[in-house]
């Protein structure tokens, strides 16, 4: 039994799944079938799910995107505990709870704080944005989320990075990406 446990742990913890990043040049890119975004820098794109992009590496900044999230879907793959699920009749306030609860589900002790929660235009849709602040193993993290609810579905962009240097460094690019959203009918 112990041998089995050892093998299992080694496989799981060594990240045996092959990384499948692609270098994505600046330009306009599809986010599922719901909307497109435009980047002005080269990002490394991971197919997910969820799809996420990084420039300096996973721990120094991730830009995750979701398109047409529907009833019962989670922002994150199910892990060893219940992951919060999206409800089709959610309000923007409940979407913010979904985001913070999802982070807290995987980052124990994160204690996410939401600030500057406001309405924005998300492409042609009425959307919302908010900032997040939390702690991950002693490191202060900061995030920016933007999205829209439409037809019982959720489109969402979420950027998370260390508060020190990295968030501020990439915030202009992320804000440009959010402003560049073009929604499809």
């Amino acid at each position: 039994m112990l041998r089995g446990i050892c093998i299992f742990l080694v496989l799981v913890l060594s990240g045996c799944a092959a990384a499948s990043f692609t270098k994505e040049q600046p330009g306009r890119h599809d986010v599922g079938s719901s909307y497109t975004i435009e980047t002005t820098q080269a990002w490394s794109r991971h197919p997910g799910p969820p799809v996420w992009r990084t420039i300096d590496g996973k721990f120094l900044g991730t830009l995750s995107t979701w398109s047409n999230l529907k009833e019962g879907d989670s922002l994150l793959p199910q892990i060893d505990k219940k992951t919060p699920e999206f409800r089709s009749d959610s309000t923007p306030i409940e979407v913010a709870e979904l985001v913070s609860d999802s982070i807290e589900a995987v980052v124990s002790g994160a204690d996410v704080t939401i600030k500057d929660f406001k309405p924005i235009a998300f492409g042609a849709r009425d959307g919302f944005s908010f900032e997040l602040f939390y702690s991950q193993e002693g490191l202060s993290k900061r995030g920016l989320a933007a999205g829209a609810l439409h037809d019982g579905k959720l489109d969402l962009i979420l950027f998370l990075a260390p508060s020190e240097y990295y968030f501020d460094h990439y915030a202009p690019e992320v804000q440009r990406i959010v402003a560049s959203v073009e929604t499809r009918a």
Partner: protein, 389 residues
């Protein structure tokens, strides 16, 4: 209690000892107050790695620094084990699961999930006393030598390689698996129960509270649809056996000690953290267990405003049949109490929208902005108000 993190610490010690040492003899003697192991011993290697783990823990950002909580636990430790308390370092770790651990070098971890579940000073005392017994009895060293004698180097290093990726606190699955590999033996747990109970009773704590805590945990666990989420139970003797044993000890001990639960110091120390810890409890997503826990704390007379609010949050997030109505009822109970956070107005509004009560929802959102004019979500709430008008 289980050493949920202790297995990770023990794994560190394998680096030093797995390959270079042959079979060792399991020590029988207790650790003496102030004693440090001789440098050439297996025990010294174990301590060295515990020291490294402790340094990592201090940097983890997960330590609750509040002097009131830490002083309370330190004072309790000195009442329980006055000869050893100067060599024990207590760390309150922000993890919403029931657990406390004791490392062989004197590092004790007390998880916030345990402090949330304890009802009084005596319940905390019996858990700490049990952990201190593991320390005094040198159980970690005994267990480590026992395991090392049974495994070969490659098996040990395989686990070690894997564990290196877990970090300070991995997922509950990682921790449960590692705990199952390197938990204390049943005999050691019984021994810790015996000494721990005796010391706590001698210190004047209410002997009936040891079994009471475990009975409460048994009830909470019975509500779970995921029994393996209880890491401490995976590494301990059967809970029924433990309760029976503690009750028997309690009946015998009542003739010797007539302690009191001792509520005031404990409750006032943890009261400022209750809001955060109740919220953390919900992040476990084990709503059936949390419902039992919150009801128990209500019955025990804890902060009613907060507990009704978090019961409302629980039902609103669970969204089972009839849960929205239950949530609204709980929010209203919360709002009638002092200690209810202003955001209860916002939460009840979301539940009222869900149940087709827009007029009531509008009033609640207005009350929210009145109660918290600088709310960080004021602009989105104002937009929601416009939609409701």
């Amino acid at each position: 209690m289980s050493g949920a993190l202790k297995p990770l610490s023990l794994l560190g010690a394998m680096v030093l000892t797995a390959i270079t040492l042959g079979c060792s003899t399991i020590p029988e003697s207790e650790l003496q107050p102030g004693q440090r192991p001789a440098l050439e011993t297996t025990e010294a290697g174990l301590w060295m790695h515990m020291d490294k783990m402790e340094a990592n823990l201090r940097k983890s950002g997960r330590i609750v620094e509040d002097p009131a909580v830490n002083d309370f636990l330190s004072d309790l430790t000195c009442r329980l084990e006055p000869d050893y308390c100067q060599t024990v370092r207590i760390y309150v770790v922000d993890v919403p699961y029931f657990n406390a651990t004791m490392a062989p070098n004197g590092m004790m971890q007390v998880w916030t999930g345990f402090l949330l579940r304890a009802e009084n000073e005596s319940q905390v005392a019996f858990v700490l006393s049990h952990e201190l017994a593991h320390y005094v009895k040198r159980h970690s060293l005994q267990r480590w030598i026992d395991i090392k004698n049974k495994l070969n180097a490659s098996q040990i290093l395989s686990v070690l390689t894997a564990a290196a990726g877990v970090g300070y606190v991995g997922t509950m699955g990682d921790l449960a698996m590692l705990a199952s590999v390197l938990s204390f033996s049943r005999e050691q747990e019984r021994e810790a129960d015996d000494r721990g109970f005796e010391r706590a009773a001698q210190a004047g704590f209410d002997v009936g509270e040891a079994a009471a805590l475990w009975e409460a945990l048994r009830t909470e666990r019975a509500a779970s649809d995921k029994k393996d989420s209880w890491i401490f139970l995976s590494t301990h003797p059967g809970i029924d056996e433990r309760i029976a044993s503690l009750k028997a000890k309690s009946q015998a001990g009542q003739a010797l000690a007539a302690g009191a639960p001792g509520d005031d110091g404990f409750r006032s120390a943890v009261a400022p953290h209750l809001d955060e810890w109740l919220g953390d409890e919900l992040t476990r997503g084990e709503y059936a267990e949390s419902e039992v826990l919150f009801r128990r704390l209500l019955k025990a007379g804890r902060n009613r405003g907060l507990l009704h609010f978090y019961l409302g949050e629980l039902y609103r997030k669970r969204r089972g049949d009839g849960d929205m109505d239950l949530a609204i009822a709980e929010y209203r109970l919360a709002l009638a109490e002092t200690g209810c956070p202003p955001r209860a107005h916002r939460s009840v509004a979301q539940a009222l929208i869900r149940t087709g009560q827009p007029v009531e929802a509008l009033k609640s959102l207005e009350r929210y902005l009145e109660a918290d004019p600088d709310a960080p979500d004021r602009r989105i709430v104002e937009q929601q108000l416009q939609e409701l008008r």
